[in-house]
Structure formats: structure tokens, C-alpha cells
């Protein structure tokens, strides 16, 4: 099994495991947005773990798992953004509605594509990337509009927005060209897999940093 689960994948699972365990451990010190980020890490961990199990135990395609994961992620991201983005000093509900709309569209796309069997949901990921990039730009805008005395690098929102910006900009490029790459080579090139792993490490690593900073800042504020 160790050879079937490569070191890169194992490392990703460990980051996710550490991330949500750390989030749950600091639960009381976390703000509502970062509690949701901890949940998100837990959901992604479960999805990635079960996706690998399906391949290892049943030698079956695991694409279906990602068709379930992506709408769930959209919904959770919508909730997180609605806690982080404020309108007139109150959390805004619009990001949640956008996340919900994205989830419904994503489910619709999956059903539409399922007629030919579950392919990898590259279109759904590209769509999610657009949603996430817009959210990140809004968070940056909000940070610049409402600065605090704290350094930008000590702010959890900055790490959360940067993680999403880097990951989803990369994902948009790779998964936007995913089908084209498959047509060219018949499979995803090794370098593209390595880039995806790197982007994942960056994303979830930065989420852990943001959870740590939020817990520290919330504790100091008390």
C-alpha cells in the first residue's frame, strides 16, 4: 500500500490531518471563519483519503469523489467568505449565495457530464477557481481599505487570500488545459502532477498558518 500511496500524496494527507487536528485543538480560540476552514480541511482530508482507498482497494476511478467534494468546497468557501467579507461592518451574505449558486451549477455540470461516465471535474475546478480568485481579490481590497496596526504577514486573512490566489490561479491554468493535455498525452504529464502537489502543499500549509494566526490574534484580543 505504501508504494500505491506515493510520498507526495502521503505528505498531502499528513498536512491535511495536521491542519484539521490543529484547528480542532484551537477550536475555542478560533473565529467563525477559521472554524469553517478547519472543517474544510477535515472534509478535504476525508475526500482525498477515500479517493485513494477507492483506487487502492477497488482499482476503480475515484473521479466521483471529486464531483461530490467540489460542490461541498464551494458551499464551505461561500460560508467562509461570508464571515470574512464585511459590508457596513457586518458579515456579508452575498458570498454565501454565490457559493450556493456555484455548488448547484457544479452539481448540474457533474450530472450533465455523468452521461459519459464520471470524468475528472476539470470544468468544475475551473469554475471554482474563478469564484475563489474573485473572493481573494475582494479580501485583498478589504485589507487595503481597512488596515490595522498589525503587519500584513501577521494577519490570517492575508494568508488565506494568498493561499487561494496562488492555488486557484495555478489550478485555473492547469485544469483549464487539462482536457487538452489529456488529448495530447493520454494522461496528465508528471510535471503537471508535481505542480499540483506543490500548489496543494502551499494551499493547505497557508491555511494552517492562517488558523494559527487567527487563534493567536483572537487570544491576544481577549
Amino acid at each position: 500500500m505504501a508504494t500505491l500511496i506515493g510520498p507526495g500524496y502521503l505528505f498531502l494527507l499528513l498536512i491535511l490531518l495536521f491542519g484539521f487536528l490543529y484547528g480542532f485543538r484551537r477550536w475555542k480560540s478560533l473565529g467563525p471563519a477559521y472554524k469553517l476552514v478547519s472543517y474544510l480541511l477535515f472534509v478535504v482530508f476525508l475526500a482525498q483519503f477515500s479517493a485513494k482507498l477507492i483506487v487502492v482497494l477497488f482499482q476503480h476511478s475515484n473521479h466521483g469523489v471529486f464531483h461530490i467534494l467540489i460542490p461541498l468546497q464551494g458551499l464551505l468557501y461561500g460560508l467562509i467568505f461570508s464571515k470574512l467579507i464585511t459590508h457596513k461592518s457586518k458579515p456579508s451574505r452575498y458570498p454565501f449565495y454565490l457559493g450556493l449558486s456555484f455548488s448547484l451549477i457544479s452539481i448540474g455540470l457533474s450530472i450533465y457530464h455523468s452521461m459519459d461516465g464520471f470524468a475528472f471535474p476539470s470544468a468544475n475546478i475551473s469554475l471554482l477557481s474563478v469564484f475563489m480568485l474573485s473572493g481573494s481579490f475582494l479580501l485583498y481590497y478589504q485589507l487595503i481599505q481597512k488596515p490595522s496596526e498589525q503587519s500584513l504577514f501577521r494577519q490570517s486573512t492575508f494568508w488565506f487570500a494568498t493561499a487561494n490566489l496562488v492555488f486557484y490561479a495555478g489550478s485555473f491554468l492547469i485544469f483549464g488545459l487539462y482536457d487538452w493535455m489529456l488529448v495530447q498525452d493520454g494522461h496528465l504529464p508528471t510535471w503537471a502532477r508535481k505542480v499540483i502537489y506543490f500548489l496543494n502543499y502551499f494551499l493547505y500549509g497557508s491555511y494552517i498558518i492562517s488558523i494559527y494566526l487567527d487563534a493567536t490574534n483572537q487570544r491576544q484580543a481577549k
Binding site: L152, L165, V166, A169, G170, L173, L177, Q184, A192
Partner: protein, 261 residues
């Protein structure tokens, strides 16, 4: 995938990475700029609040000064007149008491007048900084609480009225601290004006400020005395130095450049 396709992908990826890095740097720069603007606005607001606080305090002191002069001073004067009327009809023993009372009353009227002058900032404008400081020191000296000395090498009109009020209030706070907390026997004041530069140095031989209080300035001297001093200095563009060791007294010097008008 051909070599050309691969190169195209590398090119796209590299361009995207550079774009992202440039964007994040731009966010950091914009944030820093916005943060500086925010800090400046906060500072300006703090200054405005301090200014208002000072103005309110000055107004309150002015009112107290007027009340002292118009009410208490007048009543004391009336009592003195009555005592003068009484004294002829009394026995020698009672007359002695009346004379003593008149002497106390005379001192009380003097003190009320000088306290009233010390509180009113328009008296400061009329009499000048050096005379006001001298009057305060004389009052303290008369009370016997401290031995004072005043070395004045200051020509009036070097600094403007607002700077004078601030400097005088700072001096009063330092004198008050020496009386209340320092347990000092001697209090020396040196006022010097030279080349648009004014220096006010006060020194006492009291218990000094303990190290922990010196490092935690918010709680040193009287409550937040040092912080007050710091803020007032900042408001008139003065700077100050403090020298204090436990058991060896405290020396504070305030240096101020006159406003160019």
C-alpha cells in the same frame, strides 16, 4: 505533448508565477501605504483630542481661578474688614488672637491671589513664564514644604503664548510630583533661553523613580505623569530627558525650540 507545447506551458506557468508575485508585492506596498495613512489619521485625531483636553482643562482652571479671586478672595477680604472693626472693643488677650487671625487671613488672601494667578493662563501672558515659576516656588518655599532655588537665564518673549502655557503646566506638574511623591528636601529650577532654544531643568534630591516604574512609564510619577509630559512635549515640539536613580533624586530637562513666526 511535443517539446513546443511543453515550452509553451512552462512559459505560461512562469508568466503566471511572476504575475502573482508582482501582484502580492503590490498588495503589500498598497497595504503599507494605507496603513501609514491610517496611522497618521489616528495620530492627528489623538493630537486633536489632546488639544481639546488641554483647552478644556485651561478653561476649567480659568473658571476656578475666577471663582477663587471673585468669591473666596472677596469673602476673606470681608472677614478681614470685620475683624478690623471688632478689634477696638476687645480685651488685650482677644486682641492678640484677632491680630493672629488677621495675620493668617492676610497670608490666606495672598495665597488665594497667587493661586488664582497661577491657574489663569492670561496672568501668564501678562507676567511671563519666569515670574510665574518664581511665584509658585515662593509659595512652596513659604509653606516650608521644600527648599527651592531658581536660576533664571531666560529673556521673555522667546516662545509664544501657547508654548508658555504648556511649559508652565509641565513645570507645575513636576513641582507637584516633587511635593507629592519625591519626598525631597530641595528643589532646583534652571530656566535658560539661548538662540531660539529654551531649556527648563528641574532637579530634586528625593527618593527617585524606581527602575520598574521608569520602564513602565504609564504608571510612573503621579499616575500617568510621565506620559502626560511626553504628550505635552510632543504637542509643542519639545523633547525631554529624564535622569533618575533610586535614592538619588530626579532630574528632568525639557528643551524647546521657539516657534518661527
Amino acid at each position: 505533448m511535443t517539446i513546443n507545447d511543453y515550452e509553451l506551458f512552462i512559459l505560461l506557468g512562469t508568466s503566471l508565477s511572476f504575475l502573482l508575485i508582482a501582484f502580492i508585492i503590490l498588495v503589500v506596498v498598497l497595504y503599507r501605504r494605507s496603513q501609514l495613512k491610517f496611522e497618521m489619521e489616528k495620530q492627528a485625531l489623538h493630537q486633536a483630542l489632546l488639544q481639546t483636553e488641554v483647552e478644556i482643562r485651561e478653561q476649567t482652571l480659568q473658571n476656578i481661578s475666577r471663582d477663587l479671586h471673585d468669591n473666596f478672595g472677596q469673602i476673606a477680604s470681608l472677614i478681614k474688614i470685620n475683624l478690623n472693626l471688632l478689634s477696638d472693643q476687645l480685651s488685650d488677650k482677644d486682641q492678640k488672637h484677632i491680630a493672629e487671625s488677621k495675620e493668617h487671613l492676610k497670608r490666606l488672601i495672598g495665597d488665594i491671589r497667587s493661586l488664582s494667578s497661577a491657574l489663569a493662563h492670561d496672568t501668564l501672558a501678562k507676567q511671563g513664564l519666569a515670574k510665574m515659576i518664581e511665584a509658585d516656588l515662593q509659595r512652596v518655599s513659604r509653606s516650608g514644604a521644600l527648599k527651592v532655588s531658581f536660576n533664571n537665564q531666560y529673556q521673555e518673549s522667546l516662545i509664544d503664548a501657547q508654548q508658555s502655557v504648556f511649559l508652565y503646566r509641565m513645570f507645575q506638574e513636576l513641582l507637584n510630583n516633587a511635593l507629592k511623591h519625591a519626598q525631597a528636601a530641595n528643589f532646583k529650577v534652571h530656566l535658560k533661553g539661548e538662540d531660539q532654544m529654551l531649556s527648563l531643568k528641574v532637579k530634586d534630591d528625593g527618593i527617585g523613580i524606581p527602575k520598574d516604574k521608569l520602564h513602565n512609564q504609564k504608571h510612573s510619577l503621579s499616575g500617568n505623569g510621565l506620559l502626560n509630559l511626553q504628550e505635552r512635549c510632543a504637542m509643542i515640539g519639545a523633547d525631554y530627558s529624564l535622569n533618575s536613580k533610586e535614592g538619588e533624586g530626579t532630574e528632568i530637562e525639557i528643551r524647546l525650540t521657539a516657534n518661527q513666526t
